[in-house]
Structures are given as structure tokens and as C-alpha cells.
């Protein structure tokens, strides 16, 4: 009898929970279009969404029948959430994504919209810069609406260069000498860190570009020629190893977090850091003197190409044509110049649309220089976007092992080849 009462109590409890849980059904706005209004759900990094509510509100008031709902994520939760949602068909209408392998996975899953015909119908080749469209083209599909094109250059401390009487290097040999001079003066030449691997990769790929040259580098990136035994690959790892073991990076770089690097650069403990155009707004946000920083392309030979990566918005494959049009219309509105002007911190990079190269805040002095250099010198796709994920994983491991000296440059090239083979097996 008493046992029964207790059992009853337990059942009651459980059913109360069930009630709780399911009473939430239906009162959520996740249902999407109900004929009249179109709801665009939009996932992005938190920092891209700060302070944009007024932009959304004014778009909604000008376009009755369309609503825009945002969800913000951190860098890793964005990947995590998209990955999870892709697996059970719950992706938002549109989401922020990088180009290359990161965005490419959604194309391969078949969950993102191929915009090729939409772009043709709307003459996107007269709207967006060719380079930004190219970075958004993945596995033969136009995979997204270009948001930004980032080009990386060497940021350097003007004051340190002046003190030491240094000027922009024009050849790789001059660059090596420059690094040695700075090192001899007791300053860390190159500010980079190994956690996570993409920051230190930015230097290594410059060496690869140098030894391989533009044509061979491009071939290596698409695996037209093998990495194992390739002299350029081996030399790139060897030079990287020499740098790592000569004290040209900060002490303890192997376990340093890229996010802590500015703690060394701003006080002038380090002289150079490879960064993109966003770095100007970071410097200004961190209340540092932008006049102390300049840029130059790392002289890697040939036309001194810079590495570049694209950012874009991808769309859910199951959007109706109307929904897709609404989402694109919103993005066009979002990137209009008056919004850029009123939200200077939101858009640290020029909008990659034809005729809009200017239009960034005047105090970001290095941004025009980066883009001017990029358009003259040309660009190659940054390694972690050019290579498939398994190979990127191998690369990050290899860079650590080579820097620690537990792997020779030859072994590193062979290790990369194993990663490439695994990728090719999995197709």
C-alpha cells in the first residue's frame, strides 16, 4: 500500500515534468513561414551581431512581411551548432561561414544552396568583386553571399624598425637578415603562437610559397603533385624549424594562445605579427596608437602573393525562392553604406562589392594599403581553407612536431602525405 503511494508519487512527478516539457510546444516561433510572413533565421558570430538590432528593425519596417531572427555564437559553438544541425536538417535560413574547407563541408553534405543560377539571374558578377566570388566558390558551386575578403600581411612596429634603422625587406634573404637583426637587439622578431595551429601556419605557408613558387604552391594545394619528398615542402618545414629553434618566436610560443599575443606586441616586446585588415580595428579598440603600426607583404618571391581567405553567408538548401530572395535582400540592405558608416566597429573590412573599396573608417590607416598590395601582388588561399580538414589536422600536428624537433622536415612532408591519402580514400 505504502509502496504504491510512493510509486504513484514518482509517476506524478514524472508526468509533471513531461507536462512541463511539452507545454512549451507550439508557442515557439521556429515554425517558419505561415504563408503571410517570411522569417529569416540567421546565425553568426556574436561580434558580428553586436548593436545591429536597429538595422534589423529598420529593414523590417521597410519590408513588412519579412522578419529576421538572429542567434549569436562563439567561434567554436558556431561550428558545433552548424555541424549538429546539418546532421538533422535543422539549419537556419542563413549562416556566417568561412570559405574553403570550412564552408565546403556543407556543400558536400548537400545542405547549402547552390547560388550559381541565382547569381547569374541577378548579375552578381557586376555586384561583387571577382576575388570574393572566387573565394565563395566551393566544389564548383557558388556557396555563399560574400561578406568579406581578408588579406594577410606583416604588421610591424614602426618605432622598433626606426630605432633599429630597418626598412621593408624586398627579398626572402633580406627578410631573414631583418629577423636576425631584430633578434640580436633582444626583441622577439615574429609574434606568433601555436595554440591553435592556424596562427603559426601563417608564417609557414609564406615559406612554402617562397620555395615552391606560385604555380607549384597551387598544385600542392590541390594535390596535383605529392607532398612527400617534395623539396619545396621539405625546405619550408626546415626554414620553419630553424625559426622555431632560433628564438625568432616568443619564448614558449609552442604553448601560447594566439589570443594572448597582443600582450607581447603592444608593449613592444615583439616586432612583427602576420594579421589581416581586422587588426587595425583591434588595435584601435584596444586603445593603442595605430600610428605605431605599419604593414608590408612578406617577400616570398615572384609577385609576393599574400594569403587570403573569404567570409560569406551560406543559405539553407531547403529555402523557397521567396525566402532566398528575402534573405539576400536583407543582406544587401545590411551592407549598405549608411549602415557601415553608423557601425564602424562592425565592419572592420571593406565590403567586397565593386566600387566599395573605400568606405572604411579613416583611422584604419593600414586597411587600404593591405588591399592595394593584395590587388597588385595577387593572393593565394590560406592553407587552412585551401586544404581539406583531415590535411589541416595533419598540418597543425606537423608544425608542432617540427617546431619541437621531434619530426624532421622530411618526415613532416611524409606525414602530410599520409593525411592527404586518408582524405583521398574517404573521398
Amino acid at each position: 500500500m505504502k509502496k504504491k503511494i510512493l510509486a504513484l508519487l514518482a509517476v506524478l512527478c514524472i508526468s509533471v515534468f513531461a507536462l512541463f516539457a511539452f507545454s512549451a510546444c507550439g508557442n515557439d516561433n521556429d515554425g517558419g513561414a505561415d504563408g503571410e510572413t517570411i522569417n529569416i533565421t540567421w546565425w553568426d558570430l556574436n561580434e558580428h551581431l553586436t548593436g545591429i538590432d536597429s538595422i534589423i528593425a529598420s529593414f523590417e519596417s521597410q519590408n513588412p512581411g519579412i522578419t529576421v531572427t538572429t542567434a549569436g555564437h562563439s567561434n567554436e559553438t558556431l561550428h558545433q551548432n552548424l555541424q549538429i544541425s546539418a546532421m538533422n536538417d535543422t539549419l537556419p535560413s542563413m549562416w556566417f561561414m568561412w570559405g574553403g574547407a570550412l564552408g565546403g563541408r556543407y556543400v558536400q553534405y548537400g545542405v547549402s544552396r547552390d547560388l550559381t543560377s541565382f547569381a547569374n539571374a541577378n548579375n552578381w558578377n557586376q555586384v561583387f568583386t571577382p576575388a570574393s566570388l572566387q573565394l565563395a566558390t566551393l566544389h564548383g558551386e557558388l556557396a555563399g553571399f560574400p561578406r568579406a575578403m581578408n588579406i594577410l600581411a606583416v604588421y610591424y612596429r614602426r618605432d622598433i624598425f626606426e630605432d633599429l634603422g630597418l626598412s621593408h625587406p624586398t627579398t626572402m634573404a633580406e627578410f631573414h637578415t631583418l629577423v636576425e637583426t631584430i633578434h640580436a637587439a633582444g626583441i622577439t622578431p615574429i609574434n606568433t603562437a601555436s595554440v591553435p595551429g592556424w596562427h603559426i601556419m601563417r608564417l609557414w605557408e609564406q615559406f612554402l610559397e617562397h620555395y615552391a613558387g606560385a604555380v607549384q604552391h597551387d598544385q600542392l594545394q590541390i594535390f596535383e603533385i605529392p607532398w612527400e619528398g617534395n623539396q619545396a615542402v621539405i625546405d619550408s618545414f626546415a626554414t620553419f624549424q630553424r625559426y622555431a629553434q632560433s628564438g625568432f618566436f616568443p619564448d614558449g610560443f609552442i604553448s601560447m594562445e594566439a589570443g594572448d599575443l597582443t600582450l607581447l606586441l603592444y608593449p613592444g616586446f615583439s616586432a612583427m605579427q602576420i594579421e589581416g585588415p581586422w587588426f587595425d580595428s583591434s588595435i584601435i579598440n584596444d586603445q593603442q596608437d595605430i600610428e605605431l603600426y605599419g604593414i608590408f607583404p612578406l617577400p616570398n618571391g615572384g609577385t609576393n602573393r599574400l594569403s587570403a581567405f573569404g567570409e560569406m553567408y551560406m543559405f539553407n538548401d531547403n529555402l523557397t525562392d521567396e525566402e532566398l530572395e528575402a534573405a539576400v535582400a536583407f543582406l544587401h540592405y545590411f551592407f549598405e553604406q549608411h549602415n557601415v558608416d553608423t557601425h564602424p566597429n562592425l565592419f572592420g573590412v571593406p565590403i567586397p562589392q565593386i566600387g566599395r573599396e573605400g568606405g572604411i573608417p579613416a583611422e584604419q590607416v593600414n586597411v587600404p594599403a593591405i588591399f592595394a598590395t593584395g590587388s597588385v601582388n595577387g593572393t593565394f588561399t590560406i592553407s587552412d581553407q585551401a586544404l581539406p580538414p583531415i590535411v589541416v589536422d595533419a598540418l597543425f600536428n606537423v608544425l608542432d612536431y617540427v617546431a619541437l624537433g621531434t619530426m624532421t622536415p622530411e618526415e613532416a612532408a611524409a606525414f602530410m602525405q599520409r593525411g592527404i591519402e586518408r582524405h583521398q580514400q574517404e573521398g
Binding site: 505504502k2 508519487l9 515557439d28 549538429i84 538533422n88 608593449p267 586603445q287
Partner: protein
Amino acid sequence: MKKIFPAVRRYFILILLSVIWIVPAISIILTSMKSRADFFSGMGLFELPSQIHWANFTNALFDANLLLYMRNSLLISVWKVPIGIFVAALAAFAITRLEVKYPRGIFIYFLIGMMVPFHVALVPLNAFFAQHGLIDSFLGITYVYIAFGLPFAILVLRGFFNSIPKELDEAAYIDGCSRVRLFFSVILPLAKPAIASLFILDFLATWNEYILASVLIRDRSRQLVTAGLMNFIGQHGTDFGLLSAGVLLNVIPIMLVYVLLQRHFVEGMAGAVKG
């Protein structure tokens, strides 16, 4: 004399340990009081700021919406923790006190729930939540939190219920006590230290949970506090002063719960058993 010496030694050990324990925390306390210019000026992380930058705290609370996130987390925790403990107590009572079949089997079944890596559950949970419109629903996430919290709570309560002498049950039954009364008026009061410590740990676990919150809550106005704090970490650079201030503010409710409940550890069951 004999009594003073151990006391002095205790204080000596404790103060030594406290110093070791406090040092790492000082860096965030000092950072929380620094402006960006101060923080990046090259001064050590353990140097005092040139001027205390209280704006970090107000900015964290209001501009960065920490107050809202804390409110959201509180709304969930005040339901989740007591309900979860109550359900777990029922289960633990059944395992330890009622003649259910296979008590160890049931116990291990719950325990396995603790072992399954969290990330495995994300895909199916997300699918279920999306299908039933539970994304962004506090009730939905509360329910999942209760479920995920049960194994640990059962583990703790089972252990403490076991250390309550069985003779008490027999005495209670002889006095004409029902099982329900045994549970409410004998076992629960005796397990007060255990429940207090479980409450502390469970509240903390709920408050600091991050992975599920980042997947199941998307609406920025409904974000929970730890996921909200992660917003302070940017793709290109983090405002460490703001982050540290946020962390310190975030800790207040948890420490409050702790300080309020830890005194129950002293009111042991020793007296109760005798009486």
C-alpha cells in the same frame, strides 16, 4: 598548552595553503579592474592598475547583458536543483531502503548515465528539441538538466542514505511510521549535510553548464550565463578586463549559495541519532 599547539599548526598550514590558493585568482581580480590601455601597457598581470576601472563591471552587467543572462540561469536553477534533488532522493530511497529487485543493477544503470560523453547526446537532443519546438525553451532545457543531473545526485544520496543506520527504519516502522513518513521525516532530515552539499554542487553544475546551453538556447535574450560569458571572447581579440569582471560577477550567486548552505555540514547527524 596541549590544545594551543594544534590550533597554531592548523592556522599555519591553512594560511600557507590559502596564499598558494589565492595567487592565481589575483590575476583575474586585478585584470577586472584594469582598462584596456592599462592591461596592454606591458605592466605585469600582478601589478596594480594605474586607476581602478569600475566600468568593466557596469559594462559587463548592462552593456554586455550579463545581468540578463544571470537572471535566465537563475530562473532555471531555482527549479532544476530542488526538483532534481527530490527525484534523486526518491530513487536513492528506493535503492537503499525499499526491497526493490536488483538495487545494484538499477544503481549502475543510473551511473552509466554519468559516463556517456556529453557530446554524444548533442545531435539527438538537438533533433528532438527542434522537432518539438523546444529550442530556446527554459522548460525544455530544465528538463534535460534534471535528467543529466540525476546520476550524480543519486550517487551522492545513495551513499549517504546507506550510512544512515537501518535500525532507524525498523524503529520507525514499529512506531507505526509509513514509508512515506519514513522518507520525509526520518531519512531526509538526517541526510541534511548530504543534501546541502549536493545542493551546492548541483547548483554550481547547473550554473556553469555550457555545452548544452550553447546548443539548445539560441535566442540571444534567453542565453544562459556561461554561454553568455563566452560572448566576451572575440574572434580577433578579447577584452580581458570585461571578461574578468564578468567572471567575478558570475561567481557571486554560486558563492552565496555556498556560504548559506555550508553551515549545514556542522549540524551533523550525530546528535540526531542519539536523540
